[in-house]
């Protein structure tokens, strides 16, 4: 059925929210990709079975949702009313959970979150420190919505912003509100969104386009994935409002360009668009306003470079994802050389909120130049891995230690990598920098799309630099000389260094090539490729020098430079290393000091990983 007017939309909102409130209990299971990887499907299946056995289908609602953010504690089961959160749920727990909590309304101690600092269990989701510091404006509804059902979105007020935009606001007013909010591109560029939209209005063209960049190529980043998996309509609504504001309605249109490696996100956004069409929120005469607009989905083919706007547009046109010179902006000449507004998933997701609550409200969080919230993925060597949505301006230290719970297994923090392959690594001494669009750039990194990768004493910074160079080398389109030849040569030099075969001019050459690439490359992949190398050289030069001058790797990573051995005074003879050693290099009898045969050792690191007594050195 097509929603033909704001009044009808309001009526449906009441109807659907009443329906949802009619359930005695709602059980929300996180079904994001992270929890899928920790086995939430078995938990879900157990719940379906138990609820069926007890014939609770009418009074209990089972919601399989998108990402709740607390990936490290998954599978997650959240029960309302009561806001009771069970962590690391096993399928075997389900009968008891249904009996005691769903029916009985009482929490089960052992299944609750264990706060290791306070040494106590926490019952309610909202009281858990990981969540208390967050302002989940964008991700908050994830746990309340079935992402495959538009009615849940409408029940929570979805498409009200669109209704207001189409019926109560002029396009100019919408752009002014977005500009006043100070919203900046969340994909990493940080370009003022209002300014971009205003340029699109000025640009000449019969057809205009709006594109959602869901390519999310930065490895370690899965924010956009979680928005699309958990609340895809937020993005759809944002895009329709944007299209109306800039004039991208029919005969123009919209695209969502989704990364090939995100099958679930692709399925969710495709379904959301299909449902929006079915309900008349996409297509002709949306909400009876006379505005017509539709969105197509395009799948990426597996190319990081397609996150770059001109490459993305080339890919949309069915060509290889090769960037072109951006001397003429895509907002004037983009897709098919026509005016195009390209924005990131998270940027679009912020639009409905700004239209509903206004620019001033948006500015209440964040900083003067970086207002609003930002979703970050906190991953790597950190305790609370997952997604967090916080106001911009929080420091790196607060993010890693307070929210992230610091480095696990009593290891020592070494660096935090931000901004993906275009960003850099920052050391402990810079952890009091605020995370926003500008502060990290000055230090040689950048906030980027929000990926925060924590590294500890077991991470070799030269290896990290080489990792990023290799990544970019394989993702480079190869068109221009500096990027193609420069990355290849940087790889060769860094490999020499990690192999302990560095030559005297290697560091100078690395810096000269970096300077050339940053000045002469055709696109930002090439120009910013140098950041990981330059930032590690700046802050971890001593590690480079140890590789070069002493042929040593302090982190014990670079295989040519390490020698696995037993630290005899610590060895308790537990044989854990012996059990995992693939070649029999680690040997020893129980309760006797063990030994590693360096000839047989393939330096896989398993012994180091399993030893609980710090008895393996490398």
């Amino acid at each position: 059925m097509k929603v033909a007017s704001p009044t009808q939309l309001a009526r449906l909102k009441d109807e659907f929210s009443r329906r949802n409130a009619g359930f005695k209990c709602t059980v929300s299971v996180c079904g994001g990709t992270g929890c899928l990887a920790s086995g939430c499907q078995a938990v879900r299946d157990a719940l379906v079975a138990e609820l069926k056995t007890r014939e609770l289908g009418d009074s209990v609602r089972l919601l399989v949702t998108g990402c709740h953010g607390f990936c490290q504690q998954g599978p997650l089961v959240l029960i309302r009313p009561g806001d009771i959160l069970y962590c690391k749920v096993e399928p075997e727990w389900i009968p008891q959970i249904v009996a005691d909590t769903v029916i009985g309304g009482k929490p089960i101690e052992e299944f609750l979150y264990w706060d290791s600092k306070a040494k106590s269990r926490i019952e309610k989701e909202k009281d858990i420190p990981f969540y208390t510091v967050q302002n989940k404006l964008l991700l908050g509804d994830n746990s309340r919505i079935d992402p495959t059902d538009i009615r849940d979105y409408i029940a929570l007020g979805g498409y009200q912003a669109l209704s207001k935009a189409l019926h109560e606001m002029e396009p100019r007013a919408i752009i002014d509100e977005i500009a006043a909010s100070g919203l900046r591109g969340r994909g990493g560029g940080g370009f003022p969104t209002g300014k971009k939209w205003a340029s699109a209005v000025k640009a000449k063209g019969e057809r205009k386009w709006v594109i959602c960049n869901a390519d999310e190529g930065d490895p370690g980043a899965f924010m956009d994935e979680s928005i699309l998996e958990g609340n895809p309509h937020l993005v759809v609504e944002g895009m329709i409002i944007g299209a109306f504001a800039v004039g991208a309605g029919s005969p123009g249109g919209g695209f969502v360009y989704v990364r090939n490696e995100y099958p679930l996100a692709l399925a969710r956004i495709s379904e959301a668009i299909r449902q929006a069409r079915e309900w008349g929120l996409l297509g002709d005469n949306i909400l009876g306003s006379g505005f017509s607009f539709d969105i197509k989905i395009n799948r990426g083919g597996g190319a990081f470079v397609c996150g770059e706007s001109t490459a993305l547009m080339a890919s949309l046109e069915g060509k290889p994802g090769e960037p072109r010179a951006k001397y003429i902006h895509t907002v004037e000449h983009g897709y098919h050389n026509e005016p195009t507004v390209l924005n990131n998933v998270e940027t679009w997701a912020n639009v409905p909120g700004i239209v509903t609550h206004g620019a001033a409200k948006f500015r209440e969080l964040g900083t003067e130049k970086s207002p609003g919230t930002k979703i970050f993925s906190l991953v790597g060597k950190v305790t609370n891995t997952g997604l967090v949505e916080i106001p911009m301006g929080m420091t790196l230290r607060e993010l890693v230690e307070d929210v992230g719970g610091g480095v696990p297994e009593k290891k020592k923090f070494k660096a935090v990598q931000t901004g993906g392959p275009s960003g850099g690594c920052l050391p402990e001494s810079l952890m009091d920098l605020p995370v926003d669009f500008d502060a990290l750039t000055g230090a040689g990194s950048m906030m980027g799309s929000g990926g925060i990768i924590v590294m500890d004493q077991d991470t070799c910074m030269v290896d990290v630099a080489r990792y990023f160079i290799r990544f970019l080398e394989s993702e480079s389109c190869g068109k221009c000389t500096p990027c193609r030849e420069g990355l290849r040569e940087m790889d060769r030099l860094l490999t020499r260094i990690t192999d302990g075969a560095a030559e005297i001019d290697d560091l100078d050459n690395l810096e000269e090539i970096a300077h050339w690439m940053s000045g002469a490359s055709l696109c930002a992949l090439g120009t910013s490729a140098v950041n990981p190398v330059l930032s590690t050289l700046k802050y971890f030069r001593d590690e480079y020098m140890e590789h070069i001058a002493d042929a040593g790797c302090p982190a014990g990573v670079c295989r040519e430079l390490v020698r696995y051995h037993v630290i005899e005074e610590n060895c308790t003879g537990c044989a854990a290393c012996v059990k995992v050693c693939p070649t029999g290099a680690a040997s020893g009898k129980l309760k006797e000091v063990h030994h590693i045969d360096t000839v047989l050792c393939i330096k896989c690191g398993e012994c180091y990983r399993v030893c609980k007594f710090d008895a393996i050195g490398r």
């Binding site: 990709t33 992270g34 899928l36 990887a37 920790s38 990936c71 490290q72 998954g74 999310e216 190529g217 930065d218 490895p219 370690g220 980043a221 899965f222 994935e225 090939n260 490696e261 995100y262 099958p263 996100a265 395009n298 799948r299 990426g300 083919g301 597996g302 190319a303 990081f304 890919s315 949309l316 046109e317 069915g318 060509k319 290889p320 994802g321 090769e322 993925s377 991953v379 790597g380 060597k381 891995t385 997952g386 990598q417 993906g420 990926g451 990768i453 991470t459 990290v464 990792y467 990023f468 990544f471 394989s474 993702e475 389109c477 995992v580 693939p582 896989c604 690191g605 398993e606 990983r609």
Partner: protein, 165 residues
């Protein structure tokens, strides 16, 4: 060498082309559908797409060889995708890849001679909190280590009755 199919049912290709509206701009999606059907991109299918869409051969070939998603070599019956994103890398993904390569005696990006198993690396599967991650048949397996992935491989071989080399 893996047997490459030289004779494919072009009617199936035509169906896939029609399904995406025979739109030249949908070339990439179309190639993905073809790859899902045959587990790789057969040359006759590429030529058919080119002719039907009116897209010159050189562009179809450029697209087929540019994108990581496409392979011109058939994948194994069991396809192991190891995530080598940054978060997985710092947690030791490289060693997981190495373990598989050593065990199967093939390099990542290739298939075993009997066509049973193939290894591929992906530049981030988006399950970063669970890294290192290996994906098989759309199912994600997290917290992988050398030891765990080799156990996992044995399990796959047993369950799927994959012949051991």
């Amino acid at each position: 060498m893996v047997e490459v199919v030289t004779d494919i049912d072009l009617r199936k290709v035509d169906q896939l082309i029609e399904r995406s509206g025979a739109d030249p701009e949908a070339l990439i999606g179309m190639l993905q559908d073809i790859q899902r059907q045959w587990q790789y991109l057969p040359l006759p299918a590429l030529k058919r797409v080119s002719e039907r869409l009116g897209v010159p051969y050189n562009r179809v070939w450029a697209v087929a060889t540019f994108y990581e998603a496409f392979t011109l070599e058939p994948r194994g019956r069991v396809h192991l995708m190891v995530c080598t994103g940054t978060a997985c890398h710092v947690r030791g993904a490289q060693e997981v890849v190495r373990a598989l390569e050593d065990e199967l005696m093939i390099e990542a990006g290739h298939t075993t001679d009997d066509g049973e198993l193939s290894i591929e690396t992906a530049h981030c599967l988006g399950a970063c909190a669970m890294g290192p991650v290996v994906m098989v048949d759309g199912i994600y397996h997290g917290h992988m280590t050398r030891t765990k992935v080799l156990d996992f491989l044995s399990e796959i071989r047993e369950r799927r009755e994959v012949k051991t080399q």
